[in-house]
């Protein structure tokens, strides 16, 4: 099918889908206006978050407490995606590993501007601290394990684009990151099972709520944030590491 025919077929379908979506939109309440019935669940969460759980962030309360089961699934989904990436990008039988130190004519250029290096390497440590802060304060202010975990992974990416490949490799021995990933995912499920052992259900908030407004509050919400942070960070780093291996080190045998 040529490009013009492809576009034509798409536009016919798009007009239909758009009409269908507009039909649905017409049945919605106006933007920002809701009946109390529609907000029933939201009101329940808001009533539970701060007074009962001592978590001032209602969003994290949903993610880590009220719908913790979904988040456990999300955690496993992330693990599955990373395992899939590692498998797809692994060294094939007809490929060989060329150490990054050796110069090869077909290697991706390693040249980068000095400004990139200086900025990337100098902010790396500070970004790591910011990630820890976002993870630890997830129950209080906007943030949490998933958001902070991505920030925690950023120093690795900054080293990859800013530092020499030898420096990057020194901090990125793949197995260490895989072990942390495994421990973090197991710990997440372990907290869930601990709720079962306690007799209150999977991922129930079994730790006391602590004092409102401090880092030591919200019970398992804070605990699960601290566990999800490294889990997400190692997932992102492992993905970057495997792409790095694929682009820099793995070559077709000739």
């Amino acid at each position: 099918m040529n490009a013009r025919a492809r576009r034509g077929v798409f536009l016919v379908g798009a007009v239909g889908v758009f009409g269908y979506l507009m039909w649905g939109v017409a049945g919605l309440n106006g933007f920002g206006h809701h009946t109390q019935t529609a907000l029933r669940y939201a009101n329940g969460v808001v009533a539970a978050a701060s007074p009962l759980r001592h978590a001032s962030n209602a969003v994290t309360t949903v993610v880590m407490d009220v719908r913790g089961v979904d988040t456990a699934g999300e955690e496993l989904l992330l693990l599955a995606a990373i395992v899939g990436m590692l498998m797809v990008l692994r060294k094939a039988d007809d490929e060989e590993i060329v150490p990054a130190r050796l110069e090869a004519p077909d290697r991706v250029g390693t040249g980068r501007s000095r400004a990139t290096s200086v900025v990337a390497v100098s902010v790396a440590a500070a970004v790591g601290v910011l990630g820890l802060y976002i993870v630890a304060h997830g129950q209080l202010t906007p943030g949490g394990g998933f958001q902070g975990g991505v920030v925690l992974a950023a120093p690795s990416i900054l080293l990859l684009i800013g530092a020499r490949h030898e420096t990057f490799e020194r901090f990125h021995y793949g197995l260490a990151w895989e072990i942390v990933q495994a421990i973090a995912v197991t710990a997440f499920l372990g907290v869930g099972v601990a709720g079962l052992i306690e007799g209150r259900g999977f991922l129930a908030n079994i730790v006391g709520p602590g004092s409102l407004g401090t880092v030591y509050s919200a019970g398992t919400i804070a605990l699960l944030n601290v566990i999800a942070g490294p889990a997400v960070a190692t997932a992102v780093v492992l993905a970057a590491l495997q792409i790095y291996h694929q682009m820099i080190e793995i070559r077709r045998e000739r």
């Binding site: 979506l21 919605l28 933007f31 907000l39 978050a49 969003v59 309360t61 993610v63 797809v88 209080l140």
Partner: protein
Amino acid sequence: MIDHLPYVLAAWLLLVGLYGVATSRHFVHLVVSLSIAQASTYVLLLEVGYVQGGSAPIFKDVPSATRVVDPVVQALVLTDLVISVAVSGLLLAFIVQSHKRTNTTDPTAPQPLAG
């Protein structure tokens, strides 16, 4: 009708993203287009949860009776984002391998069916 205009934005984003997928000439462009189509769900979810005059559902230094927007849909957006990242990562990994094997990044190019 003006009350429903924000929802039309989500529909428009979905269709623009799908248009990019349908007419793409590069696999990376295709994945970015798919991300845009997925972004329509974030926009729609956040719009559905908006409450007139509501502030963020964070009760740090504000009384718990404050009128806030729906925190449930915001949590859904977080899940949505993680799924989007996972799917994009996996697709990009496939693109790297596909480029290495077939030497093309054009989705419309005929692909050899070699194992």
